[in-house]
Amino acid sequence: MRKLLLLSIIVIVGLVFIARLFYLQVYNEDPYSLFDDNAIRKVYDYPKRGYVYDRNDNLLVANQPSYDVMFIPREVKAMDTLEFCNLLKITKEDFIKFYDKAYRYSPRLPSVFIPQLSRIEYAVLQEKIRKYQGFYIQKRSLRDYQTTIGANVLGDIGEVNNYIIENEPYYKSGDLIGKQGVELSYEEVLRGVKGIKFIQKDRFNRDIGPYKDGIYDTLPQPGKDISITIDSKLQEYGELLMRHKHGGIIAIEPSSGEILAMVSAPSYNPNLLVGRQRSRNFSKLYTDTIAKPLFDRSLKAQYAPGSPFKVLSALVGLQENVVTTQDQFSCRGGYYLGSRRLTGCHAHASPLSMNQGIAQSCNAYFVNVYRRIIDKYDKPHDGMDVWSNHIKSFGLGDYLGYDLKIGNKGRIPDGDFYDKWYGKNRWSSTYNISNSIGQGEVEATPIQLANMVAAIANRGHFFTPHIIKKIEGQEIDEKYTTPNHTTIDKKHFEPVVQGMFDVYNTGTAYSLRVPGIDICGKTGTAENFKKIDGKTTQLTDHSIFVAFAPKDNPKIAIAVFVENGYWGSRFAGRIASLMIEKYIKGEVTMNSMENWILTHSLEDEYAKPYSGKPFGINRQSALQVIDKITKDTVINPISNRPSPFNQ
């Protein structure tokens, strides 16, 4: 027995050790990964980010070097601090503060001393940096916008946030990623693939050489250049016209679905979001909750489409065979059900047929057509669904599928919508006749409306709008080259197109004619409401205009929204006509119209609701005459608007 004590203890200890090893090494251990090993430093080699060109090969976005002053605290030796501070334009207190902060982080690791020097600051410092031991300059690449326009289209890049780092293993802390616009949509194309080097560290976090002589290291693959469909001249002109107004413009080439211009106003200079001032500028833009310069109105703002929607009512009426182009309806200054006036109208000849119904934008005409569509079916629910499906085939009421990552669905109600609202079958067509004239429950974004116009211009089909034109060595998505057909037969479009043509010839846009170009258009004036201090208040109507030109073989389809611009041809119509002339002729001949737009501002109108004083709308619309805006007028979305708080 005495012989067995040590023997059995030895065996037991041996078994315990093996069990412990098994627990530590086999049972308890995730598969080994170089990326998780904190003894290996992963150094990334960032490729050049792809350039962005416009449709005419004008360079819009390039890269620029930026210079960070880096330092390793414990390698800093005694030096002429005063001269150094003067070079960097900082005080000695700053110097001590930065130094102490970095020293607390780690005395051995490099920290940023001053980020993102300008080229000039760098040139001065570069000569002298060798005198300051422990300091060195690190080059980084930033975006360099060759233009001041298109902030909403081009977007910007910024550091990845934690959510992205956790969900997409490609991105590491400090990496740059597209945040908005094409930078976001084509992030993977533009960024390329970064290279990686594995470097062995020691326990003080110092590098001691490549891991396994670099057999796992990879080289970076440069990002690809892209061309976007934007015509930068048209875009620039659109942004100029929209200064001091809120709203959006979308111009599309109907034959391809390419977005020619995409203006959101107010906008900002994309260069504001580059470099050392980025976060300061961003928060300024972000906190401007009235002008909302970061809110892309051309894609996201959801408005009642107003009268332009009437052309769809006409098309659906023809397709459903409930109306002919010859049928006439009378208008007694509105639509009456018995003796009750359901909707008003403005003064025009009566009765009228489809052509004049569109040209004069008669509300009563379209309410009649709408009621015939819905009442064709036994139940209003079924009629509503039929109507809704026709409308939706124009790309309304759902995401369009364009290649920018923001947008809104808009709203096209169907039978279920009203069943939910009023109760099953407890409603009829008279409950929602406003839909026929683009008010009521119908809502759309500017890009949806522009696409709708493109579908009419093409007489029955459209290409999904897109911003990408070319990717270096790569085809663009097939989705953008396949036509989408509407549910309306081609033959029904001609009378409607003629009606839109007569809007310019004899109708509501008579004053907006452009010499030498056959434009088809439709004005719109949409009532709108806003909650102010918890009270729903009606504001001045939105000015809306849609158009395409030329009438045959159209080259441009456009939708313009100007918030609180009062009536359709007042602001939006003028802007649309100018844009069309600019695009088709390459120059603008209608100088007085251009002058009017450039010398009138709506800023006072926008400030009114926030003034706290009682205000009138529409007829009391505040039109402000200003000095003519030129291309060189500095855009500063924050200061050009009278602040409601300082008055």
Binding site: R2, L5, L24, E29
Partner: protein, 425 residues
């Protein structure tokens, strides 16, 4: 002819296990200590180069030990012991302080650690004393004398502030037990260990309650005689005193770092911020070594490929923490094999010890097995976080000349004694 044959009658299994351990150890020292390219295996500026020289010298040492007559060791045991003790005492006057312990003689550029050599000297002395026909390990007087042989070096080493090496001397308990120490000592030893842990981990009241239950339980159900009430009460009083003593010893006598090590092992510290601080300071070594071992996985990262070893994340990795290199680079398979090699060597020594015909050889063999086992258990247990940190080397494996030579002498004296057992009657 017959003489020569007998002369080579060594236990080759032991020798092969020894060579495997030394060779494997050298590979790991190279991996853990090299910086930059390996230009020469004898690069004296690098630990692995020095270890190469130590190993070559060890081979000569082995030849010398095996060449001497087996009777030499028994005959000169007392003298070797006295010389060894004098060398320990001499440290107080001529010693060199390394890492807080006064344990080294500086000779030229080299250092020698006499406490390593004291182990085999003590083993020889103990073997000689216990093999004396007049010694009876069952008597208290002789037990006390035997313990005195151990206490002398243990106390000297403790005074030199090398508590780790002192702990190893407790391993001689196994020798005593094998040679006739009463069973009650074993029971009492286990009981006191349990009592100490209970007193520290929980509190004195729990420790006393548990001991009361055990004592009275044993008293009333274990004994057939008429129960006496005073004896168990007296034992209980001793237990209470002991528990308070342990608490007092822990709080007032132990040094801070020793206290922290025990506190960590028994998980006494609950405050998360303090625990975090500990991970950065005293727990750092253990934390890093456990991480290195874990990252090895089943098959390891490969020789010289351990990222944490190459980055020198584990301090003292080529000496006391060498096992973490094995864990990282050779994985579970390699480290389990190492454990098996050690267990095989220990069992082989025990087996041979039991075969010995002379008491001297048997006792000495038992001493060898006990000391090697103590080092094996404490070192690997510490590196894997199973027992509190006690800084002693892994025999034959860790970097260091003194330890390697001392363990070699310890082992090969036994190999020589064993080879001579045919002549013992």
């Amino acid at each position: 002819m017959q003489r020569e044959f007998r002369g080579l009658n060594f236990d080759w299994i032991t020798i092969i296990l020894f060579l495997l351990l030394v060779g494997f150890g050298w590979l790991n020292i190279m991996s853990a200590s090299h910086s930059g390219e390996i230009t020469s295996y004898f690069d004296m500026s690098q630990p692995y180069g020095k270890q190469s020289v130590f190993i070559i010298f060890t081979l000569f040492l082995i030849v010398l030990i095996l060449a001497l007559d087996a009777k030499f060791y028994e005959r000169f045991a007392s003298i070797i012991y006295i010389i060894s003790m004098l060398s320990l005492i001499g440290l107080f006057f001529f010693g060199k302080n390394v890492n807080g312990a006064l344990g080294w003689y500086g000779v030229g550029g080299m250092t020698i650690q006499p406490s390593e050599f004291a182990k085999f000297a003590t083993s020889l002395a103990l073997a000689k004393y216990m093999s004396d026909l007049q010694t009876n390990m069952k008597t208290f007087k002789d037990q006390l004398k035997a313990v005195a042989f151990i206490l002398l070096p243990a106390i000297l080493i403790l005074l030199q502030n090398d508590a780790g090496s002192t702990v190893v001397y407790a391993a001689f308990f196994f020798v005593f037990y094998r040679e006739g120490l009463q069973q009650v000592y074993l029971v009492v030893a286990i009981f006191l260990i349990v009592l100490s842990v209970l007193a520290l981990k929980f509190n004195v009241v729990v420790a006393v309650l548990v001991s009361a239950i055990l004592i009275f339980g044993h008293h009333f159900f274990g004994q057939k005689k008429r129960p006496q009430i005073f004896q168990p009460i007296a034992i209980l009083l001793v237990c209470i005193l002991f528990s308070f003593g342990v608490k007092y010893f822990y709080n007032n006598i132990l040094q801070f770092h020793q206290k922290d090590r025990i506190s960590l092992w028994l998980r006494l510290e609950k405050d998360p911020t303090k625990l975090h601080d500990m991970k950065q300071t005293i727990l750092y070594n253990l934390h890093e070594s456990e991480k290195a071992i874990s990252s090895g996985g089943l098959t390891g990262k490969g020789f010289m490929q351990g990222t944490r070893t190459t980055g020198k994340f584990v301090p003292e990795q080529h000496t006391d923490y060498i096992f973490s290199t094995v864990g990282e680079e050779w994985g579970f398979l390699g480290s389990a094999l190492l454990v098996i090699l050690f267990v095989a060597l220990l069992l082989r020594i025990l087996y041979l010890a039991e075969l010995q015909k002379s008491t001297f050889s048997r006792v000495y063999g038992y001493c060898v097995a006990s000391i090697l086992f103590a080092h094996f258990m404490i070192n690997i247990g510490m590196v894997m976080g199973l027992i509190p940190t006690i800084g002693i080397p892994l025999p034959f494996f860790s970097y260091g000349g003194s330890a390697l030579w001392a363990f070699t002498i310890l082992l090969f004296i036994f190999v020589k004694l064993d080879s001579n057992r045919i002549n013992e009657w």
